[in-house]
Symmetry: C2
């Protein structure tokens, strides 16, 4: 096979041996080999191949609409109006939808979603984002000049990392990321040739952050690279925890003391379900710590239209806010984003609606609130259900899904299974998930795709399927796990 490939490739300019080595190192388990196999199986099912199941259930990716969640009516009305302004003359749309559409269109070149926006994003959208942040954070001021509209949060995160990375050898930039992490981070660091510095979340304390672990991780990293940034995902992906205010305070003090740039991935800020849990933005806590911190600590925070109650991933809308960024660097950031021209304008419009949603007294308010509340309540119910059912399975331990859209249970794998996986050259939890896919049609992502403590095994499963389907799915996972354990013990 190796020989054949070489023969085939020897005349190509671009081969696996001549391509960018950093790209080869990138990995993204959420759409990795297991998902590719799931797509193959779907094709086989369509072609009439007999399987022990009739459909593949994709619980691998936080794609709410694909799992049946309905879009917010108001958002889609305004988007339709912006797309085809003739509809502004139609009586079927409520006045508040029309006025939002008019306002957005007036801010677009030629009153069209089809014009490029300013590189940083449409002015009035950035102003609305700033006001939203101020309301959210109890009045902490936000300057629209610090807001950049992005192509989903991913694009903002990669852009910030790109600004930060430099150096070679021992002075190469290191970036601290949690383990488990969302693999966009590890992939972006591989792409940029930066050093990934791992700090472990504490599974025993519901995936909280430990100051001592941050210190250990940093001290170790300083021996071989130059750690410059600390990334936090809150609420957590894949781990579903909601960090306490105290923890965020500790992290900010740590970043200030250790001279680290903070990156706060807060795309699940409305996805908080557990009682006693509350979302605290890094920005707000930073300002509550007083000017010593709020005037110095550099922070970039990220939000998106893809999660929360909206789930509008396909529009690739998002924003980032940068705080205490050196003005010269900010000019460079603006230049960098200008080269990609602008974030997709429909996504910018949608972001505007998220931060400027119907207000009490407006005609769409009641429906909007009903839809929003229904979606969030359902997610809360499914978070609870997932945790409860998984914890009834011997050999599976699941922390509370306090927020976000995923459970990340710990699974005990029998030694015999681990041995067999290794003999096949597979990571044990990949072996487990692949077997589950083949036997049940359920598509999960192995914990190894996010990182985990050596010798522990997990999977990530979204809580997004409709309740009925989720129950069936959880029952099947239980059944599979028992069978698997028995088979290999």
């Amino acid at each position: 096979c190796k020989v054949q490939r070489s023969a085939f490739s020897q005349n190509k300019v671009l081969t696996i041996d001549t391509m960018n080595p950093n790209v080869k190192k990138m990995e993204y388990a959420v759409r990795g080999p297991i998902v590719q196999r799931a797509m193959q199986i779907e094709k086989e099912l369509r072609e009439g191949v007999k399987k022990p199941f009739t459909e593949v259930i994709k619980a691998n990716i936080g794609d709410a609409h694909a799992m049946g969640q309905q879009p917010i009516t108001f958002f889609r009305q305004v988007l339709a109006l912006c797309s085809y302004p003739e509809l502004l003359n139609d009586n079927m749309f409520p006045e508040d939808a029309k006025s939002r559409a008019r306002r957005i269109l007036q801010a677009c070149g030629g009153n069209s979603l089809g014009a490029y926006s300013a590189s940083q994003g449409i002015d009035c959208v950035r102003q609305d984002v700033a006001r939203y942040i101020e309301r959210r954070d109890g009045g902490v001021p936000c300057d629209p000049d610090n807001v950049y509209l992005t192509t989903g949060a991913s694009n903002g995160i990669v852009t910030m990392l790109q600004l930060l990375v430099c150096g070679e050898g021992a002075s190469k930039t290191g970036v601290m990321i949690s383990i488990p992490q969302y693999p966009l981070y590890s992939a972006a660091l591989a792409e940029l040739g930066a050093v990934q510095v791992n700090y472990y979340l504490n599974e025993d304390k519901c995936w909280s952050m430990d100051l001592s672990e941050l210190e250990r991780s940093l001290a170790e990293a300083r021996k071989h690279c130059n750690p410059k940034a600390l990334c936090v995902i809150n609420p957590g992906n894949p781990t579903g925890q909601v960090q306490s205010r105290q923890c965020i305070e500790d992290v900010i003090r740590f970043a200030a003391k250790e001279h680290l740039f903070l990156m706060a991935d807060e795309v699940y800020q409305d996805n908080v379900y557990a009682e006693g849990c509350q979302f605290h933005s890094f920005k707000k806590v930073l300002f509550e710590l007083g000017p010593q911190y709020s005037n110095t600590v550099e922070l970039a925070s990220f939000h998106s239209t893809s999660k929360c109650y909206m789930g509008e991933c396909g529009f690739r809308g998002g924003y980032m806010e940068v705080i205490n960024m050196d003005p010269e660097v900010k000019a460079q950031l603006t230049k960098l984003v200008s080269i990609r021209l602008c974030a997709p304008v429909p996504g910018q419009a949608l972001m505007d609606l998220v931060v400027n949603s119907p207000q009490p007294g407006e005609p769409s308010y009641t429906t909007f609130m009903k839809e929003r509340t229904a979606t969030l309540s359902l997610l809360a119910e499914k978070a609870k259900l997932t945790e409860e059912i998984l914890n009834t399975v011997p050999g599976i331990t699941c922390n509370p899904v306090q927020g976000a859209m995923y459970s990340f249970p710990n699974i005990s794998l029998p030694q015999k299974a681990i041995k067999e996986a290794k003999a096949l050259g597979q990571v044990p939890d990949m072996f487990y998930c692949m077997k589950m896919l083949e036997e049940t049609g359920i598509c999960l992502v192995p914990g190894s795709g996010f990182g985990q403590k050596d010798g522990t095994y997990h999977f990530r499963m979204t809580i997004l399927p409709p309740t009925d389907k989720l129950k069936i799915l959880l029952a099947k996972v239980k059944e599979f796990h028992l069978r698997f354990t028995q088979q290999y013990s």
Copy 2:
């Protein structure tokens, strides 16, 4: 100032001195200092500052809708239907718009534009793109598996360059780009730390490509880097030429002989105005050269929703087709794009409409053709007008605008002006354009932002303003040029 900055920045993690040096090297004149000054002037005008003009005319960027071009009705109807499928029950939309919308929605997860698509793009859209390419190229086959939907063409181009770049020192990847070029290329190469290898277009022969110049450029580059790819923009940006079939054939033979990966930027493929000129896709010519070429030469070609008669830049829709790509590299490309999840789904939908536009017999066909033809005729008229008027100005020489959306005239600058510019530390054509902006409100991009032969000067001006405005603009440019020449002679 230097001292102040250091004092200000010394406590920052991220400063101009500690940031990614490749990002600092990136330049993008289309949204560079002159555009920033134009935005300032607009603000000053709004604040009542008196100027020798009442509005800024932005002829710096190919943003058709911002210049008043109307979107295609059919496209926007389908986008509205996709955004808010309730409208499928409305009688105001023609049946073909509804059936297109239904087809797109059926291919979306949960029938929603808000779901992620497959990483490579929505299946049925890629199939439609493949059929479009086959029709365009007289039946040359196109495999939908070779089509990737992108976030505008820019994103596809950067992704391909990213795959190609590797090595250090003398084995660092070199990429051949035309001079003048669209500065996305130079910026992306700076970002990736690759070597920019310049080949000059022949201004005396209407900006055509010379084989001998390609040979010179390559031979020189091989002394200090490893040239792996050759980029061609056809129709040309900023230079507006349409390459002849013979020229494309020569380029393909050259790439084959010299073992270069070909990148064909064909986003202006419908923008061909000059009599006797015709768009020839690299793909088609490649296949017409026979299997010796069509089975071996690696080619990536790019298209987008942003130009042609659509001008829908804001949606960031686009595709690329890869031909003869090593299957292992293709797997890496698919992995790479999966990390950014997917191109914006509304842009994918729009791309679908472009490649699957109304057909004879369908209710929207007549209107669609009328709108399309009107836009393209108007552009052809404005291309001619621009060339003619500019050539009446002593000291300005303008090649025919055969295609695309820009004129790129040669301007003679008096020695005294060149001296004064240099004394101010400015590039002479930047000095000229900045002065024109201050005196007339016209915003152009200096030729130096695209590259030009030493000692020659140019500017890029879009042909997009409405005809009346374009005439005024051209008269003002003429007046300014005469005044400037007199002032400095």
